[in-house]
Each structure stands twice: as C-alpha cells, then as structure tokens.
C-alpha cells in the first residue's frame, strides 16, 4: 500500500507538465531535438535545419494536426531520440520515477533511523551526555539554547 502511495505521488509530480491542447510552433518545438547534429533542443537551435523544422511544424499545425500527431510523425521518421524527453511508458518510466522514488524511500529510511536513535531506549547508548543528572541536563539544555540565540 505504501509503495502504491509513493508511486502515485511520484507520478503526480511527473505528470504536472501536460501537452498543450492547441499546438503552436513554440509549444511543439520544446518537445523536439534539432536534427542537425548539434545535440540541442529545437527551441534553442538557430541553424538552417532548425528553421526548416519550424516551417514544417507550422505547416502541420495549419493542416490541423494535434501536438501528439506532430510528435508521432517525427518519432516515426527519426526514432525516439528526436523527442527532448523520454516518453512516459515502458522502460522509460524508470527514468521518470526512480529519482522521486529514491528520494522518498531514502527519506523514509532516514526518518525511521532518526526516530529510532532519538528513542529513549537507544539514548542510553548514544553518548555521555545522557548519563547526566536530569538537573544538570536541564541546565545544559538552557545554556545550549541560550548559546544558540547568541552565537554560532
């Protein structure tokens, strides 16, 4: 169940940016790479090839194609590498989910560990300060918080 919740949260994060319903050259070119070999996204490239691609996209929009249809047309000709980001399906989902999942899982482990360490039972072993008389411990806490207010 926990894993399911974490996965749902991860997918929520990655699903926030959605494709625009009415395509424009700008909205489409953000999802494509330039084919001139410059390795740059289309919207950042100024070469002749990029101009030709923009003209083609403009014509496709004028023909009434949706953004997804335009992207599919490029993928069919150039392969997946023409897309500026991995698709959100199949093995590519690993690319999208793993960063969030690893942060969430490691975060969960950290919370549990810190909780365990700060538990009174384990405090017995955690350092000499715990062996202090409660009166001195209270004084130490006060001084530390005072020190905290005053300096580094």
């Amino acid at each position: 169940m926990k894993t399911f919740i974490l996965l749902t949260i991860s997918i929520f994060f990655i699903a926030v940016p959605v494709l625009a319903e009415t395509p424009t050259v700008s909205s489409v070119e953000k999802h494509l790479m330039c084919t001139c070999g410059c390795t740059m996204p289309l919207y950042t490239c100024e070469c002749q090839k990029s101009e030709e691609m923009r003209t083609e996209i403009k014509q496709m929009i004028e023909r009434g194609m949706t953004q997804q249809e335009i992207l599919d047309s490029y993928v069919s000709r150039f392969g997946e590498k023409i897309l500026s980001a991995p698709t959100k399906k199949g093995f590519n989902l690993v690319a999208w989910i793993l960063p969030f999942l690893s942060v969430i899982l490691v975060g969960g482990v950290l919370i549990k560990t810190v909780k365990r360490w700060s538990h009174p039972e384990t405090k017995q072993e955690s350092g000499p300060s715990e062996k202090l008389d409660p009166k001195y411990l209270e004084q130490l806490e006060n001084e530390l918080s005072h020190f905290e207010e005053k300096g580094e």
């Binding site: 996204p41 101009e51 590498k81 500026s84 207010e149």
Partner: protein
C-alpha cells in the same frame, strides 16, 4: 622555445610520480630526506608546469602556427586577449590549465602547512601528486599541447565565435578553479582515511578550500548561464546540457558537504557520510571532465569523441575502487560518537537538506546517463533533455527552498516548543502573507505560488536572525550600523552563510519568475511595422550591413516603447564568420529589475526581418543573487586572526614530531 615547454611537461610527469612515492614513504618510514625531497618535487612541478603553460600562452599570443594547438584555435585577426583565452578553448590546453592549477594548489597546501603540525600532510601531497600524475600522463602521451604541425600554415582556423565573449573568457577557468579546488578536501579525506585519523581535523583544515572550490564553481556556473543567455540567443540561461549538468552535480553535493560537515564538527556525527560526500563530489568533477572529453554522451560542449574518455573512465573506476576500499576498511573508526537526539533538530534538518541536494544530483546524473542505459537495455537511442530535468528538479528544488529556511531556525540537538514557536512565527507569517498576496494578484500556478511563498519564509527567517543579532549587539554598541557590521564580522561563518542563503533565494526568485511568467512572440516585420508584447511596442526601423575584422554583420534596429514611453533603439544582429563558416545571433537585451526584453533576429529577407521577442521576468535577480552569494561566501571564508589565534582547530601536540618523524619540519 617550444622544446622547453615539452621537456618541462615530461619532467613534471616524472617528478609527480617521484613526489607520490617519496611523500608516501616519508611518513611510513619517518624519513626526513624523503619528505624534504617530496617538497622540492612539488615546488619543481609547479615551476615546470608554469614554464609549459607560459610557453603555450605566449605561442598563442604571438600566433606561432608551428604548433598544431595554436593553428587550430587562433587566427590572424583575433585580438590578443582572446588568443590567450584559447588556452582553455581546446582539449590539451584546458588539461594543461587543469594540471597547472593542481600543481599550484599542491604548492599552496604545502606552504599553508609549512610548520608541519598535521600528520596528514604527506598523504595529502601523495594524493594530489597522484592526481597530477594522471593528468600529466594524458598531456604527455595522449593529447600533447606541443604537438607540431606537419606542414607550415600562415593562417589558423580561429577561435569559435561563440567563445569570443568576455563572459566566456572567464567561465572555463573559474569552473576549473572549482573542479581542481575540490581535489584538496578530497586529498585530505583520503589522507585521513590512510592515517585512520578520522576526527574533524581534516574537515577543519579544508573548510576554506571547500568554500573556495564551491565559490568558484558557483561563479563558473553563473558565468556559463550568463554567457548562454547573452550569446546563444535562444532566450534562456540553462539548457540542461550534459556538461552543464556535470558542473551542477558537484555543486549540489559540495553544498551538501558544506552543511553536513557542521554536524561532524559540532557533534562528531556523520563521519562516514562526510568522507563519502567529498569523495562523490570529487568523482563528479572527474565525471564532468569525462563527459566533456569522451563523446560517449552527446553535448554541445564536447571536445569530440576521443580515446581520452576511456582513460578518464579507467581513472574514475580506480578512484571509486580505492575510495570504497578505504571507507569500507575504516568503517569502525568512522562510526559516529553520538546519535541524533530528535528529528526536530538542526542536525536532522541538515540531514534532510543533504538528502534533497544529493537526490537532486542523483536525478541529474540519472537523466544524464539514461540515454546510455536505455541503449544498453532496449537498444533504443533516446534523449533526456530540458522537459525531463525541469519536471524532476522543480519539485525537488521547492523542498530544498523549504529546508533552506528550516535549517537555520531550528536548534541543535533538540528543538523545544519554545524554540519552534519563537523562531518559526515570523517566517510562517512571511510565508502566508506572500501566499495571500500572490493569490490576490492572480498567481494560481502551484509551483510559482509555493516557490515565492517559501522564499518569503526563508528571507523572513534570515531577517529575523539579523534583527535578533543586532538587538543583542546593541547592548554593547550604540550605533546600529556598527552593531550590524560587527555582528557579521564577529560571526563570519554564520552570517556569511545567511548572506549566501539570501543570494541563493534571489537566484530562485529569478529562476521562478523567468520560468513561470515568460511571454514571447515571433513575427515577420517590414520597415515601420510594430509588434506588441505585453506593454512593449517594438517598431522595426531598418537594417544595416557592415564588416569587422572577423565577421560580416547585419544589424536590425528597433525603437522600443513601454507604456508609450520611449526607451530608445536596440539592435539585434546576425554575424557571419567566414573563417569558421558560422553564423551567430547577437541578441539585444533591455534589462531592469522587473524583466528583460530579449530580442532575437531570426533572419533577414530583402526589406523584411523575422524576429522573436521574449519578456523574461526577474532574470536580473539571478545575476544579483550571484553577487550576493559571492559576498556571503567571501565573508564566510575570510580568516579571522583573533579566532584562529585563540581557537586553533587542532592542538599542535596532536602530531608529535619527535616521536614519529624526528627530522621532519624543515
């Protein structure tokens, strides 16, 4: 003369290996002669590499085309300062700069520890010299900057026009200062592991080195962003290119390290994590170099595919093996002295800040490597570009802003309810006030709403910290301004850190504003026609054509009005560089604190021009944030004589000269 450069390089190669061996033996055998000799080898290495780099720089300045490197990177019409900057424009020149900086830093470490009160130093020199040895192998055997031309030429191929920009002149050297700077704390960590001396000594000794490296890496990244913004002409400052990512990853892990070492210094915790973090940071600097040189991952910054990549890969594997072995075999000594008292403590908040920073670095590394992984698993080439990195890093970045605010407000060990209420009340008000104001002015998107509100939370918290500090100092100082200045000067590390946080928040304001609220329009215009973008009107006035020493330039002039107020004429341009057969876009930018008007000349056709105009809100805040970050870091790293005299980080008794190495210390 060129022969001297080449011979110096070969001699430095031999001497760096000699320094590795002698410095290592000197501590093992407690032999003075070996240590004395190792020190001389380090000094000689710096002198030899200074000769080499000096000769290459001079050859570039006088355009000595008998050298292949010179012929490939400069041309007759190139101004001398750009010709010298070609030192870091190519593969072998930039590696020579790296090696020279490393030899300089090794010398500085030696000088800083000339009284030799710390047992770690010989092994620090061993590690730094070993890294230098690796770079010199590359320079002598694989990519020699002194390689001659097979035939005589009278004109060079010239410097890439994109690199002919003042920002670009300083961007690579500042990045290298950062990359090479991280070698020093890494070397201290390895020395601490070798010596099994894993208390906080190595951290205290390298605090300024870490800040120095972090500062220059920050400046390098910001200069790169500024250069991309001004020179590349696509309207943005960060393209998530693999090489940009390679500079951001060590910055993120270095930032995590700067925070987590405080926990070890104060509480003797996270020793294994700190050693691992600096090892990871250094490995990422080498990984960045590997990305640039290998051609394995596609990037606009690549020097092209070469065998150098595999040598770097082998070096990376060696570094990982040695580091993992040392950490694993010392795991008992790396156990924490204490444990966390509560998850409501500054230690825990730093721990989670580390998680987010390292998580972000991992996300970037994962995205950078995923095309290679995808090809290996599915046999399908894919691209991982800006949409991926933005989607993944924006939520992580927002959590990071939150933790930046929480960290300084929460008490060490265990926050009491009183501490939480007292410290979080005003920042909390700051957060909700910003949220309400932003909502009422019409901002509804989740990310900018959260980002700006959390920035308000962080900044309110910092202002309150300054207020409380000044109020406390007012008991001994009459003048409020003096109280403010003395507060910073007497607690440089703490308040310098707060100023850095302010700088980072200003950068986040710029990033959020320019990403969330940008507007753009593209249009073909004839003489006298106007385009409107928000409250700007741009009227096309005409085109000028002229030649410079290196290029043919087409200027398009536009009169700009904002709310009908005349702001003058701006001239975006297209430059054609015949020598490189390359066309460049020179954008025109009108900037103020609210927004940048960014005009790109797309193309010229008879009397018509195709232009793209962008409104990039709050971009200037990124550069101002950079200045504040620099000031804050300088304050935090500035040495305090009084403090150092009274609070020497490690008592000199720690290393007993007589017992271990009687004659050492010359």
């Amino acid at each position: 003369m060129i022969e001297f450069g080449e011979i110096s390089l070969s001699l430095a190669l031999v001497l760096s290996l000699y320094a590795v061996v002698t410095s290592f033996i000197s501590l093992r055998n407690s032999t003075f002669e070996f240590w004395w000799s190792a020190k001389r080898a380090v000094i000689s290495n710096f002198l030899l590499l200074s000769v080499s780099i000096g000769i290459l720089a001079y050859s570039l300045a006088i355009k000595n085309y008998s050298l292949k490197y010179v012929a490939e990177h400069v041309s007759n019409g190139l101004p001398t300062f750009y010709a010298i900057s070609a030192l870091w424009a190519g593969q072998s020149g930039s590696l020579l700069l790296w090696a020279w900086l490393l030899s300089l830093f090794t010398l500085v470490v030696l000088w800083q520890n000339r009284n030799f009160q710390f047992r770690l130093i010989p092994h620090v020199i061993t590690t730094l010299s070993a890294i230098l040895f690796f770079f010199l192998i590359l320079l002598v055997f694989i990519t020699n900057p002194f390689e001659r031309m097979a035939f005589a030429v009278t004109e060079g191929q010239g410097l890439n026009p994109l690199l002919q920009n003042p920002g670009m002149m300083f961007h690579p050297p500042t990045l290298y200062l950062g990359y090479v700077g991280f070698s020093v704390p890494f070397a201290f960590a390895i020395a601490a592991l070798l010596n099994r001396k894993l208390d906080s000594e190595w951290i205290v000794l390298t605090r300024r080195w870490t800040l120095f490296a972090w500062l220059f890496l920050s400046i390098g990244i910001l200069l790169g962003a500024k250069w991309a913004y001004v020179e590349l002409g696509w309207g943005g400052y960060w393209g998530w290119d693999p090489v940009e990512n390679a500079s951001l990853m060590p910055w993120l892990t270095g930032t995590a390290f700067l925070h987590s070492v405080m926990i070890q210094e104060r509480r003797g915790m996270l020793k294994i994590w700190n050693v691992s973090l600096i090892v990871i940071t250094f490995l990422l600097t080498i990984f960045g170099t590997f990305v640039t040189r290998s051609g394995i991952i596609s990037s606009v910054h690549s020097f092209g595919a070469s065998s150098l990549g595999y040598v770097f890969l082998a070096f990376l594997v060696l570094l990982i093996t040695v580091s993992v072995y040392l950490i694993f075999t010392r795991r008992e000594e790396l156990r924490s002295d204490y444990h966390f008292d509560s998850y409501l403590s500054r230690e825990s908040s730093f721990l989670f800040n580390n998680l987010i920073l390292v998580g972000s670095a991992f996300a970037i590394l994962w995205g950078t490597l995923f095309p290679v992984i995808s090809e290996a698993v599915r046999g399908v080439k894919i691209t991982v570009g800006p949409p991926f990195f933005n989607s993944v890093n924006v939520p992580i970045g927002i959590v990071l802003i939150l933790l930046t605010g929480v960290g300084p407000l929460i008490a060490w060990r265990k926050a009491s309810t009183h501490n939480l209420v007292r410290n979080f009340l005003y920042p909390g008000i700051g957060f909700f006030l910003a949220l309400i104001i932003l909502w009422f002015i019409g901002i509804r998107d989740l990310y900018p709403l959260l980002s700006f509100s959390l920035i308000s939370f962080v900044l309110t918290g910092i202002v309150m910290e300054f207020y409380r500090g000044v109020r406390a100092r007012k008991r001994v100082e009459q003048n409020i301004f003096r109280a403010f200045i003395n507060l910073i000067l007497k607690h440089r590390r703490r308040y310098g850190g707060y100023i850095v946080h302010i700088g980072v928040m200003l950068i986040f304001i710029g990033i959020t504003g320019s990403s969330a609220f940008k507007a753009e329009v593209e249009k073909t215009l004839r003489n006298g026609e106007t385009i409107n973008l928000k409250n700007y009107q741009l009227t096309f006035l005409g085109v000028d054509y002229y030649k410079t020493a290196n290029a043919e330039v087409l200027n398009a002039s536009f009169r700009v009005k904002k709310d009908n107020k005349d702001l003058g004429v701006i001239t975006p341009a297209k430059e054609y560089h015949p020598l490189q057969d390359q066309t460049m876009t020179e954008v025109a930018i009108l900037s103020d604190y609210r927004e940048d008007l960014y005009l790109i000349l797309g193309g010229v056709d008879d009397d018509a021009v195709y232009v793209k105009a962008h409104i990039n809100p709050l971009v200037a805040w990124i550069w101002w944030g950079g200045y504040v970050l620099i000031i804050g870091t300088l304050i935090a790293m500035w040495p305090s004589k009084k403090r150092e005299a009274t609070q020497s980080p490690v008592p000199k008794k720690t290393f007993n000269l007589k017992k271990t190495a009687t004659p050492i210390g010359a």
